[in-house]
């Protein structure tokens, strides 16, 4: 089975090298999508000797993910895992997240920080995330325990079917909607998120959640 790890990265040179070196111990097909970073993200990814796709200008995380997924599909990927560059996901948990795909139970596996053993989540962040869950539930009809987790795995069928047209952060909700629209089977698997000062500073703010809602509503109107 060809397992590809796709990592969207925008100005992540503080953590990227560490994340890549850990990933390389277990996985050989790693794709970093440098989303027009202005720091040394691109150079560090090159030094790590992984595949680096470079967006000439910043297009947002959704766009970067779609680029990586497209490329992985072209390379003949059977399973595509999306992983964050800021070090909040655990490499050891990739095995757990792809297991249901290998066993052909489902098409998509979504990481959830609220299932099973709970990660220590700052209260304010928890409120935002819970709001996102309700919001995603309202617009897609799918009730998840964690709607905005970047740790996911798709089989080839799902990766081909899911179309990400939201370039920015609203892609998380869009992916859920696409799962529903394409009638894909999915499963949530508990994952641990390590919150560091750095990953929190890179994460979504309260205000960003309004921007995400705006992006989703706008797409709904013009479709």
């Amino acid at each position: 089975m060809n397992i590809y790890i796709v990592i969207p990265a925008y100005n992540e040179d503080q953590t990227l090298t560490q994340v890549l070196s850990e990933l390389k111990k277990d996985y050989s097909n790693i794709i970093v999508v440098d989303d027009g970073s202005t720091d040394n993200t691109f150079q560090q990814a090159l030094l790590a000797k992984v595949v680096v796709l470079s967006h000439l200008i910043n297009r947002g995380q959704g766009a970067a993910l779609a680029t990586g997924i497209n490329y992985a599909l072209e390379q003949g990927a059977d399973i595509i895992v999306t992983f964050d560059a800021d070090g909040q996901h655990q490499v050891a948990e990739i095995a757990k997240i792809i297991q249901p795909l290998i066993e052909q139970q489902v098409d998509v596996v979504l990481g959830s920080r609220f299932l099973g053993q709970q990660s220590k989540i700052p209260l304010f962040r928890k409120i935002i995330l819970k709001m996102a869950i309700i919001f995603t539930w309202l617009i897609s009809g799918i009730k998840l325990t964690d709607a905005h987790n970047g740790f996911r795995a798709f089989n080839r069928l799902a990766a081909e079917k899911i179309k990400i047209s939201q370039d920015r952060m609203a892609h998380s909700s869009e992916i859920i909607e696409e799962i529903k629209r394409n009638k894909l089977n999915y499963k949530e698997v508990p994952v641990t998120i390590s919150y560091t000062k750095y990953s929190l500073s890179k994460g979504q703010t309260f205000w960003d959640s309004f921007k995400i809602a705006k992006d989703i509503f706008f797409k709904k109107i013009i479709k």
Partner: protein, 116 residues
């Protein structure tokens, strides 16, 4: 009345100028016939409103709105909203096209590197 004439002339000159612009755009095939039609009607209506203000009053009364001037403002606002909406759609489409180009460049660059 004298002041009103000045306004009328300014509005007419502006309308005629705008219609010429639109016609030129159509000749250069920058806009479709539908768009040409739309804009000529709009600018003719603008000219008409200034020369025959009573016409708007008539229309307004017909639609149950008190004054002609109110009708003009209502329709203008609706039109502006519509145009802004159109611009938003065009912008969104362009954003997606930019992403497509950026994505294509990123992937072909990597494939080119691999071949060498």
């Amino acid at each position: 009345m004298g002041n009103y004439l000045i306004i009328r002339i300014i509005a007419s000159v502006f309308s005629i100028f705008a219609i010429f612009k639109v016609l030129k755009k159509y000749r250069d095939k920058n806009i479709s016939f539908k768009e040409l039609f739309f804009w000529v009607i709009i600018w003719l209506a603008v000219g008409l409103v200034f020369w025959l203000p009573r016409f708007t009053t008539f229309l307004a009364n017909f639609l149950g709105i008190g004054r002609g001037a109110d009708l003009v403002i209502y329709t203008s606002i609706i039109l502006i909203f519509y145009l802004i909406f159109r611009i938003f759609i065009i912008l969104d489409k362009q954003q997606q096209e930019i992403t497509k180009i950026v994505r294509h460049l990123a992937i072909t660059e990597e494939e080119r590197k691999k071949e060498n």
